[in-house]
């Protein structure tokens, strides 16, 4: 997205209800700064995220997608994030294989107590995506305004 001739990335963050979403909350209550370019979507568990969700986010104009979940071993549903981890590894490898820039997708484990980590991760991710520029290779022209 161009704002005043300056590129502002659109970031979609899938956050699991039990850890990362609460972590984002904590970042808020701690007044930790992170860019407003990050749009959070709450999911029950990181393994709720289907590869299609991530592709769909890119289609609708996201420049970067990040998935946050409980630390491995801490999943509210015991094993959800272990499956998510394998799935995302495969998705990332496929995206890279198709020539999509590395770094547009990311997985980070953020617990409910890690508000500071959440803000730091988001700041860093927004920086990476700003450097990568607009998502061109996985865009859908029909979804562009």
């Amino acid at each position: 997205m161009q704002v005043n001739n300056e590129f502002r990335p659109k970031i979609v963050a899938f956050c699991c209800n039990w850890c990362s979403y609460a972590g984002a909350d904590l970042a808020g209550t701690n007044r930790a700064n992170y860019p407003a370019d990050v749009k959070i979507i709450r999911v029950p568990c990181s393994c709720r995220v289907n590869p299609m969700f991530i592709l769909r986010a890119f289609q609708r104009g996201a420049d970067g997608v990040i998935l946050c979940g409980c630390h491995p071993g801490d999943c509210h549903y015991t094993t959800g994030n272990y499956y998510a981890r394998r799935r995302m590894t495969m998705l990332f490898s496929m995206l890279s294989y198709l020539g999509i820039e590395k770094g547009r997708t990311r997985v980070e484990w953020v617990s409910a107590a890690e508000g500071a980590k959440f803000a730091a991760t988001m700041n860093e991710f927004v920086e990476t995506i700003t450097a990568l520029g607009e998502n061109k290779r996985l865009e859908d022209l029909r979804c562009k305004k």
Binding site: R87, T89, Y97, V107, E139, L141
Partner: protein, 324 residues
């Protein structure tokens, strides 16, 4: 081979061991034998088996899952892997199927024959390494190796892994088949080159869904691509994104379950190298989670429905290929 198979099929039909035979009969043209069901000994007249009989019969067994009686099926090595995979997923019942394994040393692709100048193909005869292609304009003697389909050039296994009886000699696995060579070549490219390569391939897609329909792993009764609300409609892609999305999701849905039978690439009317997507997943899973061959063993657990506590993090993909 055809006569031996026909004879065995009629014996089993006659003595009531099986009530139907799943095999091939000639299709519209001599070079596209289609899967067919034979219920009487007389109808077996139409049974054919030759080097054009490439189609994988295991998926057709799903249709007989809820029907009474045993089905006789002929499985080539590739097909037997798919059968095991379907067994793992409870899509077929082992007791309801009588499997005759047939050895295979590759099937001939019709377009390779065309490249060699065969027009108006009427039939094929094989003798060892040589094939005799009968055409409207006379016979053509060719070397079989030069006419094999793409997937047969890097055949992973000549072994029928599940059977009740075997016709002829069972083959062996072929670990040095080099099936990942092309994947490695692609991985060595820059992301820009890869993007160009895949755009070139995937933009040929006409969304005929042949790859999905033929795939023995794609056996869902309701497919996500049939859902009009899924956002992936049943028509030629309007945007490059849809092409990418369809092929990523298609490959993803069979990831870990794909036995690498290569049917998708064989049936693609646009000759898209679809098996390269599946093989990438297979290769990546082998590297990250240990060697796994879907269908080698019935009941095995695929990597994506399994985990260990110390799996690699997804970021490994970025560091692993950092140098490339």
């Amino acid at each position: 081979m055809q006569e031996v198979m026909k004879k065995r099929a009629s014996e089993l039909l006659a003595d009531g061991t099986v009530v139907r035979v799943l095999g091939w009969k000639n299709g519209e043209f001599a070079y596209d034998p289609t899967p067919a069901v034979f219920q009487t000994v007389e109808s077996l007249e139409a049974f054919v088996y030759n080097d054009f009989c490439a189609s994988n019969l295991s998926k057709y067994l799903i249709k007989f899952l809820r029907q009474e009686g045993k089905t006789l099926v002929f499985l080539k090595p590739c097909d037997s892997y798919s059968f095991n995979q379907l067994l793992t997923e409870h899509r077929v019942i082992r007791e309801n199927v009588y499997i005759i394994g047939v050895p295979c040393d590759g099937k001939v692709a019709e377009d390779k024959l065309r490249e060699k100048g065969a027009e108006g193909i009427l039939g094929i005869e094989t003798e060892g390494d040589q094939i005799k292609v009968k055409t409207l304009y006379g016979d053509l003697d060719l070397n079989k190796k030069e006419c094999l389909g793409e997937r047969c050039l890097s055949c992973k296994s000549h072994q029928v892994v599940v059977f009740d009886e075997m016709l002829g000699e069972n083959g062996e696995e072929n670990p040095d088949c080099g099936r990942f060579d092309m994947v490695e070549k692609l991985e060595a490219m820059t992301p820009e080159q890869r993007f160009e390569f895949w755009r070139g391939e995937l933009s040929k897609c006409i969304r005929c869904n042949a790859c999905r329909n033929i795939c023995p792993a794609c056996s869902c009764e309701k497919c996500v691509f049939d859902n009009p609300a899924s956002g992936i409609s049943q028509k030629a892609a309007a945007d490059s994104f849809e092409e990418n999305m369809f092929h990523i999701i298609r490959a993803f849905h069979v990831a870990g379950r794909c036995t690498d039978c290569g049917e998708c690439s064989r049936v693609c009317p646009q000759h898209i190298l679809l098996h390269l997507l599946n093989r990438k997943f297979i290769k990546e899973m082998n590297e990250c989670y240990g060697e796994y061959q879907a269908g080698a063993e019935a009941g095995s657990r695929a990597p994506l429905v399994n985990f260990t506590m110390d799996d690699c993090e997804p970021s490994i993909i970025y560091t692993k290929e950092a140098g490339k």
